[in-house]
């Protein structure tokens, strides 16, 4: 019938275009707005090196938010980010204590540690059916405990390796920080997985209704577990990059990334209930949050003022586009 054919015409448009939703567009608009506002305060906010620096810093959050988005799409959440980030960084640096081979493998080692914690999260959520919000809370506590014991008992090495330094601060393409390139690669991978692979479909399906997904013969538990492992690995990778940026690992270096990661994902239009959201939005959200925090930190006003503005801006932006439909 006619409307069906119309539908089919619209499908001839490239998937990418069709997938851009208003939230994404608007949040990019908000970014511009924010910059202009910053520009009013000081033209330095529009300078190329400031912007590149923000993108560099954003890519740390970006990598972490990528993992967060994956679990949020499942209708879950990962509160273990802070200490997974720290653990990834600390373990990567600690590797240097065990010979040149380990030093070279520092980055993978760090990521691996994150994936291990992710594995525990995944088993807890997928196989033991414990709400993710609480399992990840617990694993976060465990990870912290491990790091405390480790630091206290082993006086670990905590210098970032040259490779880590290079990944985070070097620039393969002149002017473009490597961190940014890495984020781009991670992001591209994520987009591909979400839009083109069976795994991605399964993630969205489970996020919408796991029961139906299961009855469709999808191994939902494995998908959920893999997602959490990936999220853990990405958080740890973010930590590794941070360590490279700071040239060292330290405890509590992940504390500043949990809420921003969640906020970024949701500001990007992903439904916290799962099943809905596009990566482009998360990109926008990450840049938005990073810029906001940076501009606020530089504006000469007391911390209190910053907090209030931060909150108001988040809510205002969500009111602009983050509203769920009046009746589902």
């Amino acid at each position: 019938m006619s409307d069906t054919t119309m539908g089919r015409i619209s499908e001839r448009m490239p998937r990418f275009i069709r997938r851009i939703e208003p939230p994404v567009a608007i949040s990019f608009a908000c970014i511009i707005l924010l910059l202009l506002f910053g520009g009013l305060y000081s033209s330095a906010f529009l300078s190329a090196d400031y912007l590149l620096q923000q993108l560099k810093v954003a890519s740390f959050l970006g990598v972490i938010a990528t993992g967060m988005m994956l679990v949020i799409l499942l209708g879950q959440i990962d509160l273990s980010v802070p200490w997974v980030v720290a653990a990834g960084a600390m373990m990567a640096c600690a590797a240097t204590a065990y010979g040149p081979a380990a030093t070279l493998a520092a980055v993978p080692i760090g990521i691996l540690c994150g994936m291990l914690i992710g594995l525990v999260n995944g088993i807890g959520v997928a196989y033991l059916r414990i709400p993710s919000m609480i399992v990840t809370l617990a694993t976060n506590a465990v990870a912290q405990g491990l790091m405390v014991v480790y630091t206290g008992g082993f006086s670990p090495r905590d210098f970032a390796t040259e490779e880590m330094r290079y990944l985070a601060t070097g620039s393969l393409i002149p002017g473009v920080p490597n961190a940014l390139i890495i984020w781009a690669i991670v992001g591209a991978g994520m987009v591909f997985v979400l839009t083109r692979t069976t795994f991605g479909r399964a993630v969205y399906g489970i996020g919408n209704r796991e029961r139906a997904a299961y009855l469709s013969g999808v191994n939902t538990r494995r998908v959920v577990m893999i997602a959490f492992i990936a999220a853990g690995g990405l958080s740890a990778f973010g930590g590794v990059l941070l360590a490279g940026y700071a040239s060292k690992a330290a405890q509590g270096m992940g504390d500043a990334y949990l809420l921003p990661a969640i906020a970024a994902v949701v500001l990007g239009g992903t439904s916290i209930l799962g099943g809905r959201g596009s990566y482009l939005g998360t990109v926008a959200g990450v840049i938005l949050i990073t810029l906001l925090l940076s501009i606020l930190s530089v504006l000469q006003m007391p911390e209190a003022g910053r907090q209030i503005i931060y909150g108001v801006v988040i809510i205002a932006m969500l009111l602009l586009y983050g509203r769920s439909p009046a009746n589902q």
Binding site: M1, D3, T4, M6, G7, R8, S10, E11, R15, R18, R196, T197, T198, F199, R201, A202, Y204, G205, N208, R209, R211, A212, A213, Y214, L215, S216, G217, V218, N219, G275, R276, Q328
Partner: protein, 515 residues
């Protein structure tokens, strides 16, 4: 219009959803003391119409008149206050609340501003009684009840409100004849009490028995209103679908005796006291029905085959070889090739917010992908084939499946599994909420699949269906196979009597219900 002045009237009601015209200048006149049936194929606009009446959907244009004065409903609450109670096709029970809580949900009995639990319990029990479902415990959580019981609760809930106008949108679609009979007695009593009833169903025999007046909808318009019985079934269906129509079940091929092992079989299958030593076999090319009252273990049996139940005793055989299936994933794999059309499309069949495309492909992703990368072109092709094969009425592959009409949603569930070309097909009441025309298509389809060598096991709450298209029917009672009916033995009478586990004969449907 016959006699009595209108209690409620809708004039020129239109409702558009994007490109879709759900309602187009629809008219309806509701009179007290009569049962008014509304017929129409899937997507004709029936549910939309009554959603407008119930204040859930606000129409784009048109007016509603209640007892002579215009009304506009701000929301469901408003409609209820003016005495309109509605049982929605997609039920509106709160899963985590108890049956009693749900029944009195509109205005619970209160003392000093607190809900009076004792009184609530009494009301609930009374309502359940009237709905002929005294077997449901008022303290049970709704989410623990099977769909059919929920529908009864929904009916009890509507009754508890004592409305002037009661609307049932396919409220009995999951009920077996016996349950339906009980409900009908209630409805007829209400009619005598002067209540106006609107009754939507795709089961012609129900409408024939119950309705006083009938209104047929097509493409959002009311195309005809007539006194019940003044038209033949085929005439009615032709009005519904707007083309020539003859009600015929596809011919059954003579039972072919083959020495090949049955595609699907089980021996002494038992589970948690709900399945008791069930042994059966379904040969390739055979359509076997599961009959019996609702909740006698039919669902559990299908789930057991599909690898959902754990702790089974006895064995399941595929092509004569025993297998252990411990997940749907295992059951659908190539060499086994099983498919289950689940009971509740909303929670088990579909992801309502996701697009038609995603839903259609979801069970077949392994086939549509190489190295788990989806081949969009192939996907597009297969999806379009399915839309055509089942004539699914949708505004495109990318609109959320939740936006389709109930029946079309059901078709999507079936299509999503047929896409795999399964060789063993388990169906759990697949034609629920599907209009007569489409039903015929599906019967024909099942036959074709069988002819192509599929083995089909088919639970239905609709006896005509079992009679019309099954080679054999196994009647379950209390988790065990009570009787196997072959060929001409399959009659409504035989089905009922064995369903009620009465091995005599000479029982009519009605008596059966009382028994």
């Amino acid at each position: 219009m016959i006699g009595a002045e209108a209690l409620f009237r809708m004039e020129g009601i239109s409702k558009r959803y994007g490109g879709v015209r759900a309602l187009e200048k629809a008219e309806l006149v509701v009179e007290p003391g009569r049962i008014h049936a509304i017929l129409g194929e899937n997507g004709a606009g029936k549910s939309t119409l009554i959603k407008v009446m119930a204040g859930v959907v606000t129409p784009d244009e048109g007016r509603m008149v209640l007892k002579g004065d215009d009304v506009v409903f701000a929301g469901p609450a408003a409609a209820q206050k003016s005495g309109i109670a509605c049982i929605f096709q997609e039920l509106s029970l709160i899963p985590d609340l108890s049956v009693a809580d749900n029944i009195v949900i509109a205005d619970p009995p209160q003392r000093f501003g607190m809900i009076d639990r004792k009184a609530q319990r009494r009301l609930a029990e009374a309502a359940l009684d009237r709905a002929g479902a005294a077997d449901i415990h008022p303290a049970a959580l709704v989410k623990d009840l099977p769909l059919s019981r929920r529908q009864v609760v929904e009916i009890a809930k509507a009754l508890a409100r004592q409305p002037q106008i009661l609307i049932l949108d396919e409220a009995t679609s999951a009920l077996t004849a016996a349950d339906v009979a009980k409900v009908f007695q209630v409805l007829k009593r209400l009619r005598q009490d002067g209540m106006a009833l609107l009754y939507i169903s795709h089961r012609m025999n129900e409408i024939a028995e119950l309705a006083d007046t009938c209104t047929v909808f097509r493409n959002g318009r009311n195309v005809a209103t007539y006194a019940n019985g003044s038209k033949s079934n085929d005439e009615v269906v032709e009005m519904m679908i707007g083309r020539e129509y003859h009600n015929v079940f596809p011919p059954k091929p003579p039972a072919a005796v083959s020495d090949r092992a049955p595609a699907l079989a089980c021996r002494d299958l038992s589970w948690a006291g709900r399945l008791k030593d069930i042994s059966l076999s379904v040969a390739a090319g055979e359509v076997v029905g599961l009959g019996g009252l609702d909740g006698q273990g039919q669902r559990e049996l299908l789930l057991a085959f599909f690898g959902v139940l754990s702790g089974l005793s006895g064995e399941i055989l595929i092509d004569g070889k025993p297998v252990t299936l411990n997940s749907p994933a295992a059951a659908k794999r190539g060499e086994i090739g099983m498919a289950l059309i689940p009971e509740d499309r909303k929670t088990e069949g579909l992801m309502l917010p996701m697009s038609v495309r995603d839903n259609l492909s979801f069970a077949s992703l392994d086939l549509l992908s190489k190295a788990s990368v989806i081949d969009s072109a192939a996907e597009q092709r297969r999806n379009e084939d399915m839309l055509d094969l089942l004539a699914i009425k949708t505004a495109g592959l990318d609109i959320p499946v939740g936006a389709l009409s109930g029946g079309n949603q059901q078709k999507v569930v079936i299509a999503k599994w047929l896409m795999r070309r399964p060789r063993i097909i388990l169906l759990n009441d697949p034609t629920r909420g599907i209009d007569v025309g489409t039903k015929q298509e599906i019967y024909a389809l099942l036959r074709r699949l069988a002819a192509d060598g599929a083995a089909i096991l088919f639970y239905s709450t609709d006896y005509d269906e079992l009679i019309g298209c099954c080679d054999r029917v196994l009647v379950l009672y209390d988790g065990a196979v009570k009787r196997e009916l072959k060929g001409d033995e399959i009659s409504e009478h035989a089905l009922i009597s064995s369903a009620l586990n009465i091995t005599g004969n000479g029982h009519s449907l009605r008596e059966g219900a009382e028994a």
